[in-house]
């Protein structure tokens, strides 16, 4: 009986080893990539990711200077971008971010910030008709349309068009509210009127 079992073990051993090795390989392949990720795995993972945002369309990435120049450019943008009554870009933390900014940076941040102001207006029942229209247009604004976050704004806009704040629009307005609270504090710190 014992000899028969030993024979059986020998006969089945090869198959078992193959199965176990296949299992371990499958398990390793399913692990998340870490620092030692292979080039092939890296390429495969990034192939599924959205493309790197291109700034070729819309505003060009021309350096305009530091925080002071960016703040001045944002103030100019406030004259041409639609904003709800009492809206401005005074609370953007150019100084905290520091460094150098380009035309494209200022255009993106101001257009995204304006979108946020309109989402808050919509939530709060201010200029509702105009707000509902502008949040539909925002994902295709020049500095936003070719970036990855445009997809999130488009998803939120679709929910608004369908008649309410779904998960995407709800999360967006929460993020906008958190940003607005920081903006109010920053503007006041600089002695500037905060946005509505």
């Amino acid at each position: 009986m014992t000899r028969a079992r030993a024979q059986l073990l020998r006969r089945c051993a090869a198959g078992t080893v193959v199965l176990t090795i296949a299992g371990v390989i499958a398990a390793l392949a399913s692990l998340p990539s870490g620092p030692g990720v292979s080039n092939a795995a890296w390429a495969a993972a990034t192939a599924q990711a959205p493309p790197t945002p291109a700034l070729a369309r819309g505003p060009q990435a021309t350096p305009i200077g530091g925080p002071a120049e960016a703040r001045a450019a944002a103030a100019r943008a406030a004259q041409s971008l639609p904003l709800p009554q009492g809206g401005n870009f005074n609370g953007i933390r150019w100084e905290e971010a520091g460094g150098t900014f380009t035309d494209a940076d200022v255009a993106f941040v101001t257009q995204y910030n304006a979108t946020c102001q309109w989402y808050r207006a919509l939530r709060d029942g201010r200029e509702v008709q105009r707000a509902a229209q502008i949040v539909q247009e925002a994902p295709s604004w020049p500095a936003i349309r070719d970036t990855e976050p445009a997809a999130g704004l488009a998803a939120a806009a679709r929910e608004v068009l369908a008649g309410g704040f779904g998960p995407a629009a709800g999360a967006l307005v929460d993020q906008c509210q958190a940003a607005h609270e920081r903006e109010v504090a920053w503007a006041r710190q600089l002695g500037l009127p905060p946005s509505s």
């Binding site: 790197t52 945002p53 906008c176």
Partner: protein, 145 residues
């Protein structure tokens, strides 16, 4: 006839033996996978030619994925020869999210930029080399979120 019976019995035993070991292998595989430190389906983006000087600048704007854990991390994929400072800043007001990651020269591991963000949260990827480190050109990285 007894010989045939022996063969059939042996085959049947082997099938049972193989099946039980196959099940064992599958269980072991599952345990390995479940026991992995983080099983999130991260979204990765190649950051090509993240050219840095001592003055911070924005490489691009990104969103937190719905399949990750609400964090964003960055690593250099080619050996960086300078200490670098990489950050994620909120898209709407440029507030710094989390602390900027200071990545020592020659470090190619992931460094957390921030965590706790909700899916879809927009952030700008910004970077510079450490003060006094000059500049670093044509190095590539990976953004994970």
């Amino acid at each position: 006839m007894p010989a045939l019976r022996r063969i059939f019995r042996a085959r049947s035993l082997c099938r049972r033996f193989g099946r039980s070991h196959a099940i064992g292998a599958v269980v072991a595989t599952s345990m390995l996978t479940v026991g992995a430190p983080s099983a999130h389906a991260w979204v990765y983006t190649n950051i090509v030619d993240f050219n840095l000087t001592e003055t911070a600048y924005t490489y691009g704007t990104y969103s937190i994925s719905s399949s990750g854990d609400g964090s964003a991390s960055y690593r250099w994929v080619d050996d960086p020869d300078h200490t670098t400072v990489i950050s994620g800043n909120n898209c709407a007001d440029l507030a710094l999210l989390g602390g900027p990651a200071t990545i020592p020269a020659h470090d190619v591991s992931y460094h957390g930029l921030f965590g706790g963000a909700s899916a879809g949260a927009c952030f700008a990827l910004r970077g510079r080399v450490a003060t006094g480190a000059g500049s670093m050109y044509y190095h590539d990285g990976t953004l994970r979120r």
